[in-house]
């Protein structure tokens, strides 16, 4: 059992507040991913949870017990660092057994627990090697093994895949997902990579500038972003965000004038003259014969499995459209685009969602 509760957590570095009051409950066995741009405070928050950073304000509870002032090793949490942070002068086995050795666990039990973890991570052939003689992926597995051996209440991962190359990153990501499934323990995972967040998380916490922007399952965030920040952060390619103004409304549907002059209707009563931002996912836009938004194709990217086109519709940013791989759009072509199935998000001038597609 391990439930982590963050109540109005704050962190102040010499008069600068970097964590501005975070409330969050992480349920037992949940895989929670903290995601956000660099400098948003997600790593600092993880380090506060780990006990490596002092908590300036608020309460942090593990299973209902306040642990603000409990030292890191007494919190029962294990951390996997981005740099792996292996002890270079110890073998793989010694690295993994280090915490147990310090805790005074007898050698036979230590060896057994290391062996079990090593088998799970396919490290059993490398136990006598030093970290310098391991590949990046192997080092990361040792770092994870070192955490597993301790049988912690919860695992903390601080951007564990950032130092790996792209192919290895995907593979290790799958291993971590499998590990969570096997160990059934609580995990907090910090990343700036939204693909890692989407694929691994039970719930994603989106951070920006020291505050939580939104908490939800990956699909909730994808379908119902709470504000412009989350809308722009989750999804690849990014959601198209276009300034718009309500032209007319008949009480059930409203017609918007988009920046650049195209008209767009949404099934929602709005006040004519209201300024807002409309969000359209590239994958929810289709090419139609006429009507919709007219735009000239400026760039085409053929990715094999799909084709991404960027079209100028007169707005500040080109419209990004995801098309099937066999579509033969050409640069300079004039096309008409329409949203598929009325899937559009609307945000008011303050950036908060006023309508999500499912509403």
């Amino acid at each position: 059992m391990c439930t982590l509760e963050l109540r109005n957590l704050r962190k102040v570095y010499s008069n600068v507040e970097v964590i501005k009051g975070v409330d969050l409950t992480i349920k037992d066995r949940e895989f929670v991913v903290f995601v956000g741009p660099s400098g948003c405070g997600k790593s600092t928050l993880l380090r506060m949870i780990a006990g490596l950073e002092e908590i300036s304000g608020g309460d942090f509870m593990i299973d209902g017990v306040r642990v603000n002032d409990v030292p890191p090793d007494k919190r029962g949490l294990a951390m996997v660092f981005q740099s792996y942070a292996l002890y270079p002068h110890m073998t793989v086995a010694e690295n993994m057994a280090f915490a147990l050795r310090l805790a005074g666990v007898p050698k036979p039990e230590r060896d057994e627990r290391v062996m079990v973890a090593a088998k799970t991570l396919q490290l059993d052939a490398l136990l006598e090697r030093k970290p310098a003689n391991l590949s990046g992926g192997q080092r990361q597995r040792v770092a994870i093994g070192r955490a597993i051996v301790r049988q912690p209440k919860a695992f903390l991962f601080d951007e564990p895949l950032s130092n790996l190359d792209a192919a290895l990153r995907v593979q290790t990501r799958i291993e971590i997902a499998k590990l969570h499934n096997d160990l059934k323990s609580t995990m907090i995972y910090v990343t700036h990579d939204q693909v890692e967040a989407m694929t691994l998380a039970d719930r994603i916490v989106v951070f920006n500038a020291g505050k939580i922007e939104q908490v939800g399952t990956p699909l909730e965030l994808y379908h119902n972003p709470a504000n412009l920040f989350v809308a722009g952060f989750i999804g690849s390619p990014k959601m198209n965000l276009i300034a718009a103004e309500v032209r007319s409304s008949d009480g059930r549907t409203s017609v918007l004038t988009l920046e650049g002059g195209s008209l767009f209707s949404v099934p929602k009563a709005l006040v004519p003259g209201q300024k807002l931002t409309i969000g359209l996912r590239p994958e929810h836009i289709a090419v139609v014969a006429e009507g919709g938004m007219a735009g000239r194709v400026e760039v085409v990217e053929h990715l094999g499995n799909e084709t991404i086109a960027y079209a100028s519709i007169g707005a500040a940013q080109p419209l990004t459209v995801k098309l099937p791989s066999d579509s033969d759009v050409r640069i300079g072509e004039m096309l008409h685009f329409a949203s598929r199935g009325q899937t559009a998000s609307l945000f008011d001038e303050a950036g908060s969602a006023i309508m999500s597609p499912s509403a």
């Binding site: 010499s14 780990a50 006990g51 490596l52 030292p71 890191p72 090793d73 949490l77 294990a78 951390m79 660092f81 981005q82 740099s83 792996y84 942070a85 292996l86 002890y87 270079p88 002068h89 280090f98 915490a99 310090l102 805790a103 070192r146 301790r150």
Partner: protein, 273 residues
């Protein structure tokens, strides 16, 4: 960047010139120690002479060479061990838990070395006198340790800074207290650095003359004070002074030569990766 043969030649000549200039006084000292007192003051200086060991026998049997040697060993080792014991926790705290005063503190410590030692001779002398530490090994060990402490802290701080903070944090998560972090993680990782710091501290203490001469007379006099006794009011005995100096430098020279790889690595740490 590749250098031309001419550049290499110039650099080699310059290097040898500097090396010979620096080595010359030492060589001359060794040479003089084998001369008679009369040959030693001969003008022009003699390069060919009848070598004699008389100065060495005089210095060893009439002076208290062995006593001074023992004192030198005790003082340099004692002050180094004590200095490391105090400097290691200090450098650890400053390297891994810096706060806004850390940089100022480091600079302040170094600034104490910028003042000439004679400036505090009177207070230190009186302090030693009142506490009965004059002419005692423990007194000299204490003063020597304090005078080298800023340098030891600075060096250790630089070496500890090279150890990734993540590793220390990982060990904290693994349950290592401060002592365990120092012993199991920092000691092996910064070992070469700690060793060269210790070497430098030993050499500095060994060669220190100001405090040794002023705070000791007979009982705790190390080799530097021993040498000074040959420059007596009755006259300057060049040959015996040279023999005493040669005997005083020889141990540390041999020690330095044996550990030179360690020393060079330590002193150029960070500059050469």
């Amino acid at each position: 960047m590749r250098s031309s043969p001419l550049q290499k030649f110039i650099v080699a000549v310059l290097g040898w010139t500097v090396a010979l200039l620096m080595f010359f006084p030492v060589a001359w000292m060794v040479l003089t120690s084998f001369k008679t007192e009369i040959d030693a003051v001969h003008s022009p200086p003699l390069l060919v002479f009848h070598p004699t060991l008389a100065n060495f026998t005089h210095v060893i049997y009439l002076g208290n060479y062995l006593g001074a040697l023992t004192n030198s060993v005790a003082i340099s080792l004692g002050s180094t061990v004590l200095g490391l014991l105090i400097a290691m926790p200090a450098a650890y705290a400053m390297a891994f838990f810096p706060n806004r005063w850390t940089k100022d503190l480091l600079l302040w410590m170094l600034s104490t070395k910028m003042m000439p030692a004679v400036g505090v001779l009177m207070p230190i002398y009186l302090l030693c006198q009142r506490s009965g530490l004059l002419d005692t090994l423990s007194g000299l060990i204490l003063v020597m340790m304090l005078s080298n402490l800023p340098i030891i802290v600075w060096m250790l701080y630089t070496f500890f800074k090279e150890v990734p903070g993540d590793i220390i944090e990982a060990s904290r998560m693994d349950g290592a207290g401060v002592l365990a972090q120092l012993r199991v993680v920092l000691l092996p990782l910064a070992g070469p650095g700690i060793a060269s710091t210790a070497l430098l501290s030993i050499i500095l203490s060994w060669n220190e003359a100001f405090w040794s001469i002023n705070l000791t007379s007979v009982n705790a006099a190390p080799l530097t004070a021993f040498i000074a006794t040959f420059s007596a009011p009755e006259g300057l005995f060049w040959a015996k002074l040279s023999a005493a100096s040669t005997l005083a430098v020889a141990p540390i020279l041999i020690f330095g030569w044996m550990t030179q790889r360690q020393l060079v690595r330590g002193l150029t740490f960070g500059a050469v990766k």
